[in-house]
């Protein structure tokens, strides 16, 4: 049985995926590995979380997927950031910064 991650993490995951493919189109495994790499293994995105997120964002129109060929000529579905997705990423980043600031204020308060 698959358990859902918490809501906060879901929004964060969206942001991370969008950011990752903003640099270059990638397939599912590639996105997972990239996130794992950049966060030094802290975030390990399992397929059970990755694919629902990807498909949801595809429905929303933030990413678009297309079949193509990987480095070793294997078939893989590549995801690319759309214009709407770019805008979404910007919003998410702003929201995230605001969140971090606010929490910071709380933690600093006496």
């Amino acid at each position: 049985m698959v358990e859902n991650k918490t809501e906060i993490l879901r929004g964060t995951l969206d942001m991370l995926i969008l950011k990752t493919i903003s640099l270059a189109p990638m397939h599912g495994l590639g996105i997972s590995r990239r996130i794992e790499q950049i966060t030094n293994g802290v975030f390990q995105v399992k397929p059970g979380s990755l694919f629902p997120a990807l498909h949801r964002m595809e429905q929303e129109g933030w990413v678009s997927g297309e079949w193509g060929e990987s480095e070793n000529n294997r078939r893989a579905k590549y995801y690319e950031l759309t214009d709407a997705g770019k805008a979404r990423l910007g919003e998410e980043q702003k929201g995230w910064s605001r969140l971090v600031l606010t929490i910071g204020k709380v933690l600093e308060a006496n």
């Binding site: 049985m1 698959v2 397939h27 599912g28 495994l29 590995r33 399992k46 397929p47 059970g48 694919f51 629902p52 498909h55 949801r56 429905q59 990987s70 070793n72 294997r74 078939r75 893989a76 579905k77």
Partner: protein, 866 residues
């Protein structure tokens, strides 16, 4: 969104490919680091985590996923149900009964309580009742009414009506007795329904002496004037006076009383000449924004003013306002409440049966559920699936229930005491069907939720897997047992209620009416009279007619009375000792007042206990005489002989001598306990309108035609109404109650049968669960009787506990139906014992069948099939 269900498969394939691609890339990644390909594949699969789960998660995030899943659930449910057609059939039948009964009742309730009265903004309309010392006391007086109208500002129209009064309408081809209601000029505008032809009364007409204008009803317009426009301005002759027709009401219009025409109350109006004579009903429309409570306070203030100004007639007299709708359905409320409770319980019992069925079925589908869970379905998904099944079944049950509802509805319509003017007739329309749908869906959810929860719970699965086959019962069976006990309690309660009503009915049917119903027939008789006719002339007409009737072959005796018992009720006047001053209205002893001709009491069979009957000598000019009933004699003269005493009554300023005492009679209705009656001599007053009462030697129906011919020959201008037998009148009076009793009886029997089925079901399942145990026991030497008694003990325990709770429940709630009971205590032991025995017998039979089956379990077969 609609594309998705079909696109779903396409997306599924795409996802499959994508996951396969992911797996391949993952394996490749691992082999590149030098791992053994087989090992790489194993690890990759573990990392992937199970394709089915991933696919399920993705599917759930799809747009329109909800609809997609719902459709899938529905298709799956239909497939499953096709396989268990027997279960589905029982489910549907059981619930259809419960839903059907409730739907039929809802249509009745909707008509009576929820639908719009056919007047403008009916929620602002109020009716009223006068009060003495806060207690409701019937109609108000004309003079009081006009003062209220003058002094109250809360109303956009405050009107009054008299009850429908019979009048002789002459002229034209034939004379007719019509019903006439006296009303104020603004009744129709206040209701918001104006005459369809002609005009309404004008305010000025109320101030005239002898306005003599009428508005006629649609039916009279058709009958008398053929629906022609010439009716406006035409003349009508009522009781010898000429009236002008000024308007015609639209077809189907009724308000409070069934009547043919409305006469405006003018200065000459004969009704309620005195302030303490009360014959009228006041209704009004609240001004916009004025609440009932506000209007009530204003009314109370005016009542206080009247109390001050007229201390003799208005002491402690008030007026209470009611919403019009409440006022109109008040007499049906108690029966309706009882029926609501009963159908509610019936549905509950049906639901419990059905839930039990589902619990049993759920236990059989455990392995299916476990497998689907392993394949990736979340628990929520499984529950949703099971609930879909449940709701589909109940919706089908709802559809069948609608058919059942039509059946119940037909019965209800024919039997409930509806059909009062203005009270709407129940119909089955869109709203009712919507109710049936809603109740089906809700029932499906309610009935399905517990079985769904149990059927998908890991704990239950584990218990079932590891449970030994000799265990007593799983918690599922325990739950069903508790539910059955509840069913038994409710069913017993209904049976007891039924028993109480049956006992009441028996009492009603055998109550001593105080008069004869065999071979007694009556009919109204009136002739047009005007101021010219003298009292003596009017008396003579009745006397000669009665003599002629008595001479007719087959007639044993005949007489006349102003109000025939049961047919004509009301009119109670105050009566007091002549030597004392007139008492205040709220302290007065009242008696139902009639005027009778000599021979009335012997004709109708009311015994003359003391003194004498009226004679020809009790005529105009001689000393006024009165005969009173025994109850009244006891009230007025508790310690002396009433004969010869002098009394005053009503609004006459002279005294009457009591010349006789007669037995009490139920003249105000079979259920009435108003036994006080005052009889005046017709000979002294010569009323122009009376009921002829005739006692025949044989079947009165045979003589009816002959009597009618005789009467009509004697006087062409006189009007004889329909002849009715006293037997028919009494029977009709009991109809309403009989209907409630039959409805409750039918529902209770159905409830009892459903409970018996539920009882049987639980025990049968229990037996099948313990088959192996019983097989072993038999193999070890148990005698069939042992096994039978085992099961019987369990069954009887359930019934016994249920009975106990049922008794307690019934005794607590029977007080609520007290108003419906007749001469029966709410805790009547015979009804309780009778109900318990009747139900108990059926229940024991329901237990015997599975118990007997238990005894016949073949040990070899049982052990082999485990």
């Amino acid at each position: 969104m609609l594309r998705v269900p079909f696109k779903g498969e396409e997306l599924d394939r795409d996802l499959d490919e994508e996951l396969q691609s992911y797996l391949d890339l993952l394996i490749e990644e691992k082999t590149r680091t030098g791992m053994d390909p087989a090992q790489a594949r194993r690890e990759a699969l573990i990392e992937l985590g199970g394709t089915e789960q991933v696919k399920a998660s993705v599917r759930e995030t799809r747009h329109g996923a909800a609809l997609d899943i719902l459709l899938h659930d529905i298709r799956f449910a239909l497939r499953m149900l096709r396989r268990s057609a027997g279960f589905a059939a029982v489910f549907v039948t059981t619930l259809a009964i419960g839903i059907g009964a409730n739907t039929a009742l809802f249509s009745t309730i909707k008509a009576l309580l929820l639908s719009q009265l056919p007047y403008q903004e009916p929620d602002r309309l109020v009716a009223s009742e006068k009060t003495y010392d806060g207690r409701d006391a019937g109609p108000i007086s004309r003079l009081d009414f006009f003062d209220f109208r003058r002094l109250c500002g809360s109303f956009d129209g405050f009107c009054t009506l008299s009850p429908s009064m019979r009048m002789a309408m002459t002229g034209g081809e034939r004379s007719e007795a019509v019903g006439a209601v006296y009303t104020t000029w603004d009744l129709f505008p206040t209701l918001g329904v104006m005459p369809a032809l002609g005009r309404n009364f004008t305010e000025g007409e109320e101030d005239l002496s002898g306005a003599n204008v009428v508005v006629i009803g649609h039916d009279l317009w058709q009958r008398r004037f053929g629906g022609s426009e010439q009716a406006i301005g035409a003349s009508l002759y009522l009781e010898g006076t000429t009236y002008e027709v000024i308007g015609v009401m639209p077809p189907g219009f009724r308000f409070l009383y069934d009547t043919d025409l409305w006469i405006v109350i003018d200065r000459d109006c004969p009704i309620d000449a005195q302030r303490d004579s009360h014959s009228l009903r006041a209704v009004g429309r609240l001004k916009k924004g004025v609440s009932l409570e506000q209007a009530q306070s204003e009314i109370d203030a005016v009542a206080a003013v009247l109390e001050n100004e007229y201390p003799e007639t208005n002491a402690k007299k008030g007026l209470r306002l009611y919403p019009l709708r409440d006022y109109m359905v008040a007499h049906v409320r108690p029966s309706l409440n009882l029926l609501i409770a009963t159908t509610g319980l019936l549905l509950l019992i049906a639901c419990i049966n059905v839930a039990g069925l589902q619990l049993a079925r759920g236990q059989r589908r455990v392995s299916e559920m476990a497998m689907r869970s392993a394949l990736g379905a979340s628990r929520r998904r499984l529950i949703r699936q099971l609930l879909t099944e449940s709701v589909i079944l109940t919706m089908v049950a709802g559809l069948v229930g609608i058919v059942v509802a039509f059946l119940f509805h037909y019965l209800l319509l024919r039997l409930l005491p509806l059909g009062d003017p203005g009270v709407p007739i129940p119909t089955i329309d869109g709203t009712v069907l919507l109710f049936a749908l809603a109740i089906s869906v809700v029932t499906g959810l309610v009935v399905g939720i517990v079985p769904a929860l149990r059927g998908t719970s890991r704990n239950v699965w584990q218990k079932l897997e590891t449970s030994t086959r000799t265990s007593e019962s799983t918690s599922g069976t325990r739950l069903r047992t508790i539910l059955v006990v509840v069913q038994v309690a409710m069913s017993v309660g209904l049976m007891i209620g039924c028993g109480l009503l049956v006992r009441s009915m028996v009492n009603l049917a055998s109550v001593n009416l105080g008069f004869e119903t065999d071979n007694v027939i009556g009919g109204t008789y009136s002739f047009p009279s005007d101021d010219q006719t003298t009292t003596a002339e009017r008396v003579e007409r009745f006397t000669s007619l009665i003599d002629k009737i008595k001479a007719h072959p087959g007639v044993w005796d005949a007489a006349a009375i102003t109000k025939l018992p049961i047919a004509s009720r009301g009119t109670d006047w105050p009566i007091w000792h002549a030597s004392e001053p007139r008492p205040e209205p709220r302290d007065s002893i009242m008696g139902l007042t009639r005027a009778a001709t000599p021979g009335y009491f012997s004709t109708i069979g009311i015994p003359l206990l003391r003194g004498r009957d009226f004679a020809a000598t009790d005529a105009e000019g001689s000393d006024p005489t009165v005969i009173i009933s025994e109850a009244l004699a006891r009230d007025l003269f508790p310690d002396r002989d009433p004969l010869g005493q002098s009394v005053k009554l009503g609004w006459f300023d002279f005294a009457f001598e009591v010349i006789g005492v007669v037995g009490n009679a139920k003249i105000n209705g079979v259920r009435s306990d108003f036994d006080q009656a005052i009889y005046l001599s017709s000979g002294q007053f010569g009323p122009p309108f009376q009921w002829l009462v005739i006692r025949t030697e044989g079947d009165p129906e045979i003589l009816a035609a002959g009597i009618r011919k005789l009467v009509e020959e004697k006087d062409r201008n006189a009007i004889l109404g329909d002849l009715v037998t006293m037997e028919a009148l009494v029977d009709e009076d009991l109809t309403g109650f009989r209907v409630v009793m039959l409805a409750l009886g039918l529902l209770s029997v159905v409830a009892m049968l459903l409970t018996a089925v539920g009882l049987y079901g639980v025990l049968a399942y229990h037996v099948s669960e313990r088959r192996n145990e019983f097989g072993i026991r038999t193999a070890l030497g148990a005698v069939p009787v042992d096994l039978t008694s085992l099961i019987m003990k369990k069954g009887l325990a359930m019934v016994g506990i249920g009975l106990a709770f049922g008794f307690v429940g019934a005794s607590l709630s029977s007080r609520l139906i007290q108003r419906l009971l007749f001469e029966i205590e709410p805790l009547d032991p015979i009804a309780y014992v009778g109900g318990a025995v009747f139900f108990g017998t059926v229940a024991v039979i329901a237990c015997l069948v599975p118990a007997w089956r238990a005894a016949r379990i073949n040990p070899v077969a049982a052990l082999r099939s485990e």
